[in-house]
């Protein structure tokens, strides 16, 4: 049977081609992971967008297209103000975390000669111990009857507990700067470690001071790590609601708390979805602005 024979040869030719083609085999190996991400990430994000155009009436979702949720964001000042505050707090967290992390990464990269890995592991261990417990721990430390207040009082340094420690944006910033420390240190360390040491020596030999060498050679060369660290801290902290609800108090409420309440007490999923999307878009815009600003800085220094 000629047709069957040719069919068979077609199949075997296809198989041969498939085996030979590196790319095909690569895609096949990658496909389970890609499928999972497609189903577990892309599809749910599409559902999120769809729901943001629906409406909630009591416990029912009304499946007709509406812009009410987005209009609500611009009409009611509270959402806008809280998003603005969240961005401001997260930017502050990013700044504090990166500024605190840079000297440590610099120390490990340039001054630790042996056992750098021990330092890296030391820095990462707190990061891997329960996030919830670390945040809770800050609540215990900063609280009215907490560790700092009771410690200072039993030492006789203060007579009354300090009230400004807990339940404000600063407590949120401290807690988050602690929680995300490792995420900031690692990329900065990697980019400092990559710098060719002879460039620094050359700058010193040509008469630049240690400080100017840092500003004009080391800092610009480590900028990719600083940018990565900034974004890795900024983006996830905008949506955090555990830290604000444990240590933030009413003045420390962030957009994450509002979104979370839309899925709990307030029960308005579509509005929650719309607020999430608006937050994501805002975060993306801020990230673009940050990247643009660093480009400008880079041009100026170089």
């Amino acid at each position: 049977m000629p047709s069957a024979a040719s069919e068979q040869s077609l199949v075997s030719r296809f198989q041969l081609r498939f085996r030979r083609s590196e790319a095909m085999r690569g895609y096949t190996l990658l496909s389970p992971t890609l499928t999972i991400v497609l189903l577990g990430l892309l599809f749910p994000l599409m559902i999120l967008v769809t729901l943001s155009f629906w409406k909630q009436e009591y416990v029912d979702l009304i499946q007709t297209f509406t812009l009410t949720n987005y209009a609500d964001f611009f009409r009611k000042k509270i959402y806008y103000l809280i998003l603005y505050r969240s961005i401001r707090i997260s930017l502050l967290v990013m700044l504090v975390t990166v500024l605190l992390a840079y000297p440590l990464a610099y120390f490990i990269a340039f001054h630790v000669k042996r056992n750098k890995m021990i330092w890296i592991i030391l820095v990462t261990i707190p990061f891997w111990t329960s996030y919830l417990l670390r945040v809770f721990s800050w609540k215990v430390i900063l609280g009215y009857n907490g560790v700092i207040n009771s410690g200072l009082m039993s030492l006789g340094i203060i007579a009354e507990p300090l009230e400004f420690l807990l339940y404000n944006p600063i407590a949120v910033v401290i807690t988050l700067a602690h929680a995300w420390a490792a995420v900031a240190i690692l990329p900065i360390y990697v980019s400092l470690e990559k710098i060719d040491r002879s460039l620094i020596e050359a700058s010193r030999d040509l008469g630049e001071s240690a400080f100017m060498t840092f500003i004009r050679v080391t800092l610009p060369l480590s900028l990719p790590g600083v940018i990565a660290a900034s974004l890795l801290v900024f983006i996830p902290t905008v949506g955090d609601y555990v830290t604000p609800s444990l240590v933030g108090g009413t003045r420390g409420i962030m957009i994450g708390n509002i979104i979370q309440s839309m899925f709990g007490k307030a029960l308005n999923w579509p509005l929650g979805a719309a607020l999430s999307i608006i937050s994501m878009i805002t975060v993306t815009l801020v990230v673009c602005l940050l990247l643009g600003a660093t480009q400008l800085f880079r041009k100026k220094v170089a």
Binding site: E22, G26, G40, L48, V147
Partner: protein, 269 residues
């Protein structure tokens, strides 16, 4: 000379202070978990094991622990298998747009967890899927797969492709080449990925908060206990245990992974 020395000292002092800042909140947990007082305040009153004893009696805690172990082990296994496939694909085959595909898989690392959580919650709800430990596992899988892939890619890049080619030239098929050559070499990476993803899932709160049905995982149980002041000391005790176990696991993962990398470099020479 003197100036560089003094700068080194300033930086060392800074590094030590920074480490204290990092470890102080972690140290609070064990410190007050042995304190014989209902309140978490100085001065310390006396040494006690009673908060630990209280943990042993809690049925809710034991259920939550078992739930977290179930989810953590399944997620660790699945994400590591997916990570092996993906890492082999991107390190061994030349593909167009592989960079784009990798960044696509990495997306869960850069979107806020709350958004991943509510998107999945809506999807399950619209699809009529009941919330359970399985839905928590699906959420964790999205979060863990990128980590597993990162660990395994660096392991696969670290060893010489010619070992695999030699096995194939000697007549092994792709399947046996993987099991007899590739897998033993990447084993430290596999173990590291398993431990890492297990720890992430075990500690994860935000996704579990949205995606768990009636079965609480350990972080959800802790969250529910935080509301009751009389439960706080035993939460500290639980925290102390978790911190200790996590530390041991992460140390082990790091040592296995790094020890493995050294081995890889030696065999390359």
């Amino acid at each position: 000379m003197i100036r560089t020395r003094s700068r080194l000292n300033t930086l060392s002092v800074y590094a030590v202070i920074y480490l204290i800042f990092l470890y102080a909140p972690v140290a609070v947990l064990p410190l007050f978990s042995f304190n014989d007082s209902q309140y978490i305040t100085f001065p310390l009153l006396g040494f006690t094991f009673k908060w630990y004893a209280q943990l042993a009696d809690s049925q809710g805690l034991q259920n939550a622990l078992i739930n977290s172990l179930k989810v953590g082990l399944s997620v660790a296994l699945l994400s590591t298998v997916l990570g092996i496939f993906a890492a082999k694909a991107v390190t061994r085959y030349r593909m167009r747009r592989s960079g784009l595909l990798i960044s696509f898989i990495m997306v869960p690392l850069v979107i806020p967890e709350i958004i991943l959580g509510i998107s999945l919650l809506m999807t399950f709800s619209v699809g009529g899927i009941k919330l359970s430990l399985i839905t928590v596992g699906i959420g964790h899988l999205m979060l863990c797969t990128p980590f597993s892939m990162l660990v395994l890619i660096s392991r696969m890049e670290g060893f010489d492709k010619s070992y695999e080619e030699a096995a194939q030239d000697l007549g092994e098929n792709a399947w046996w080449t993987f099991w007899r050559v590739t897998f033993p070499i990447i084993l430290p990476g596999v173990v590291a990925s398993f431990l890492l993803t297990f720890t992430i899932s075990f500690d994860e709160f935000i996704l579990a908060f949205f995606l768990a049905g009636t079965d609480a995982t350990l972080p959800l149980h802790i969250w529910s206990q935080l509301r009751f002041p009389d439960k706080l000391p035993s939460v500290l005790a639980l925290g102390a245990i978790i911190v200790m176990v996590s530390t041991v696991v992460i140390f082990a993962a790091e040592l296995i992974r790094r020890g493995g990398v050294d081995l890889g470099n030696k065999s390359k020479v």
